[in-house]
Symmetry: none
Subunit: 194 residues, 4 copies
Amino acid sequence: MAEKLQKRSDILTSARALFKENGFHNTKMEDIAQRAGVGKGTLYEYFKNKQEIFDETCIEYVELILEKVEEISRMNISFNEKLLILFKKRKNSMYEDFEKSPIDYIMSYKNIISEKVVKRLFDHILDMNKIMIEIINQGKEEGVVRKDIPSEIIACFVVGTLGEYFNLKMYKQESEFNEEELIFNLLFKGFSVK
Amino acid sequence: MAEKLQKRSDILTSARALFKENGFHNTKMEDIAQRAGVGKGTLYEYFKNKQEIFDETCIEYVELILEKVEEISRMNISFNEKLLILFKKRKNSMYEDFEKSPIDYIMSYKNIISEKVVKRLFDHILDMNKIMIEIINQGKEEGVVRKDIPSEIIACFVVGTLGEYFNLKMYKQESEFNEEELIFNLLFKGFSVK
Amino acid sequence: MAEKLQKRSDILTSARALFKENGFHNTKMEDIAQRAGVGKGTLYEYFKNKQEIFDETCIEYVELILEKVEEISRMNISFNEKLLILFKKRKNSMYEDFEKSPIDYIMSYKNIISEKVVKRLFDHILDMNKIMIEIINQGKEEGVVRKDIPSEIIACFVVGTLGEYFNLKMYKQESEFNEEELIFNLLFKGFSVK
Amino acid sequence: MAEKLQKRSDILTSARALFKENGFHNTKMEDIAQRAGVGKGTLYEYFKNKQEIFDETCIEYVELILEKVEEISRMNISFNEKLLILFKKRKNSMYEDFEKSPIDYIMSYKNIISEKVVKRLFDHILDMNKIMIEIINQGKEEGVVRKDIPSEIIACFVVGTLGEYFNLKMYKQESEFNEEELIFNLLFKGFSVK
DNA sequence: CATGAATGAGGTTTCATTCAT
DNA sequence: GATGAATGAAACCTCATTCAT
């Protein structure tokens, strides 16, 4: 039984890697089976079809990120520290599994993910948005974040800045500045001359 | 002759719409032909193959955005006004053709666009980055933008915030706030309590 | 009018060269047109379709060879001399237009030539056979060729030997012997020890 | 396993028959599959593509003939008997599988067989030529064949005569003569009056 | 007459899915 | 349960032929 779950998980791991590498249509069921170390027919013992495998990998992707963010949210630390950890986590995973924000991920695959899975994922996005809002609210309570702007908008502001920053890092050389500090400075103080 | 260019353009328009709607692999050559009002064989008079059609639509997509941003950059108006126009343009096209930032667009299709076209598009991204930097520099000269942060980072900050904001708008209801004002306030002043 | 015939001939010349080089199915109408220096549509002014062009080139091929053999047959020279000229003609055209004997030519293309043209060509083959027989008969009358073997069989014997000889020459180096003399010696005296 | 080889062989048998009947370009993959009693996709389990199937049938064709000739060469019989067997074999297969000499076969398909397979086949032709030469040499040793003519030339003489004879038989009625005897007589004694 | 842009029937090939072992 | 050989629908692309200019 545990073995069954293990094999299922192996298949998903294999599939996720291949989908990420080659996209949905350039990944063959045969490839997934081979990489997972099972026969082609076995895939159909664990999943209805290719679509279902893909859907599962998408759900996993988004849920894993959600989980990580939730974990950070639940930590017993200050707002500033949470923000720093979010930044670091994103940075470390950049060239690994989770280089795309969930929403970009979904947008990339909107023509491929099943309609009903898209809905479920969008719900997760909203969940994540809520968690970000909670973190922002913590900042407000701690007197670190302005209270005159809805937390929702601030969340957007933070997530967007980080996301774009890492996007650019993907195809530009390492810069000479201490960019982490600069980004945080911008988030806190904005770009206007005081 | 003008007619030849027209037909080529018709095909690209048809293709772009279908690729956007259904993705590359779910768009059949027959569909493109039908929508463009030509025969299947005609597509091959104007393009080498499906890949080339797709590549062209990608190039068009990114070049058109680049062009628009360039246009704004060349306008004889203040930094603040340019920022506002960028925001408005992005907002208006949200549910139309250009809902994705060029970089998200490329990332979505990285397994589909030809290698050499990806390179060309990344160059455009850098061009666009340069233009944003020029706009930021104008803000610095006008004494509106802080000079202690590299323009490159600020560009990232502005573009990311706007991008994420519009991403979220795509699947959330219209809010009650005057969000435009709030976003700008954040960009200028940051989220920290003064 | 003469111009019309000229253009028709140009097309056939172009077609024959391409068919020989690339075969029927790898020769495109466009190629024929281009090489003949006319438009693609023009081909259809002079020929019903691709098949007809091909058929014509085949007919030309076989008729030209037939003509040459007839010409030799009509010459006012001895059997021995005729045999020598046949040999020389075949040798000279070996790497040129007429490297295949008519019958090999037809066999190569039996799936491509129109049924009715095949019949016509086979008639030509029989005509050619008859001419060969006449030449053999002349040899008999001159007292040079044995009378106890039907001329038909001797014709076969001569044509086959020459044909195979030139076939082999096509992919083997030039030999050191005076092969011409040896071949003739064989034809005249056979291979048995006297 | 044996079954796998069997199916592969079935496909080749089906393909060879169809190629022979209709040529390469008029034989559809669907036809081959149907005649072999398998699905279209199955062809691609056993062969890379149509070209490979064709190449294999060509190789088989030439190798089978080579094998038969080798077999005759190895027999413990006299030169005269070998010559007779060669004649009989060729005669019997005339309207069956092997109606064309290997070289004619290759020449017919020179635009279709893969370059590298053509080379391989030409090597077989040379092998076959060597075997014929050995047979001729045996005749010389037995004192039946003249020693003043290179065996290579005599081989050409024998093969060509037989080939042409059977070519002609293909489209002419059965004759009244004992042609076998006449042909052999010619080969041995030539056509000159003694 | 001459042309070549437009066409679409028809071919090869791929690959998700099935099912007998 | 696990497998992978077999399948055939579906997609891309070619090219002979047409016909408006």
